[in-house]
Symmetry: C2
Subunit: 224 residues, 2 copies
């Protein structure tokens, strides 16, 4: 409100004409800021309205998905970016993934949460693990994830590291694994995998489950 006041400690000395122009720019800027604020509020209301309207369909979809064995692991394996993250052990573990949920927070700009629900499995005790993205105290994006209660000797982040150290596989690649991604909260502003899950996988997982049977087509067994 007072960015160009001629009083106060941090004002430089401008000539009268410049000072007047700066004050008028400041007034314009206040109008623009108020309109931006109003626009954000209206857009938030639209998003909240549609989140409510979409919710029953997402819930029904999740119920239906649970009838299909290995739906999520299949969708993950067929998704180009998510698949690139998966080790063989990740795939084994993700056979127990029965439900995925993406929740946007009520104030959508403030963040979202991805929930992974698992059946009883040989790898860890948790029935659900969550990774959450929000604005941290500094205003920058931050993330946190559930602590995974690994069963003895089954910690997939450690097992994978050992394999990498010994160079048995994935030479020349940086160590990656679904669970490295899940537990890594060092750069929430650039979490491509989380964004792919939220903006591509969650809006339409069926397209990744139903990937066309490429081998058949490549082998020319189709008649048309």
């Amino acid at each position: 409100q007072d960015a160009v006041s001629s009083e106060g400690d941090d004002s430089k000395e401008y000539d009268a004409e410049t000072q007047k122009a700066l004050e008028d720019i400041d007034a314009c800027q206040n109008e623009i800021d108020a309109l931006n604020e109003q626009a954000s509020e209206e857009i938030l209301k639209v998003e909240q309205k549609y989140n409510k309207l979409r919710k029953p369909f997402f819930e029904k979809r999740n119920d239906l998905i649970q009838k299909i064995p290995n739906f999520w692991v299949t969708a993950f394996v067929n998704h180009p970016q998510v698949s690139a993250l998966l080790t063989e052990e990740d795939e084994e573990c993700l056979h127990y993934l029965t439900k995925l949920e993406v929740e946007e927070f009520e104030d959508i700009k403030s963040g979202y949460r991805i929930k992974f629900f698992f059946d009883d499995n040989p790898f860890f005790e948790n029935e659900v693990i969550e990774k959450e993205f929000h604005l941290g105290s500094s205003g920058d994006p931050a993330s946190k994830s559930s602590e995974i209660k690994w069963k003895e000797g089954m910690d997939l982040t450690k097992r994978n590291k050992e394999i990498t150290k010994q160079g048995r596989k994935r030479l020349h690649e940086e160590p990656r694994s679904f669970f490295f991604w899940f537990t890594d909260n060092t750069d929430a502003s650039c979490d491509d995998i989380a964004e792919v899950i939220k903006d591509d996988m969650w809006p339409n997982p069926l397209q990744y489950y139903l990937v066309p049977d490429v081998e058949v087509e490549e082998n020319g067994l189709d008649d048309d």
Copy 2:
């Protein structure tokens, strides 16, 4: 609409229960897609409404800014990310920048254009140069920029390269310049500078023009 039809070439053979669940998921998905489409249209309408409401204030602001000598070059030099891009020659040239405009296209998702208006200057003939971002034919972000008609010997992209080659300055740094950025259209999906201009500089340039007088404060000459 027909993603899980049991007819057709690329359907795998699912058991009856799975097939039924897939068809029901597909129906859910169609409802979700329709709601997404509606939400996008409503949000677009809100954005268009506020673009119209903001426009007269942006125009008035641009008129006022032109009364202030060196407004834009000062804002650029004071902006942390834009400043990091500027060579001394860029700064010299940007003293002739009289007006900046960011235009979002009517269908906002399809892109935007940044226009730089210049006074007569010793560097190039153009009165306005534009860099435009849009979705390319493949659906991926693409950009294009005006061809700059450099005056003889004044091409700032070439002069900077020579300086860099001879290692006179900016050793250990990658060659950068406002005009390298402007003419570089190789990775439109990651153009941080364009995004900073659109989302930070253009919404409120006054804050960068009016940077506090850090030296005075650091020297403790303020009384309070």
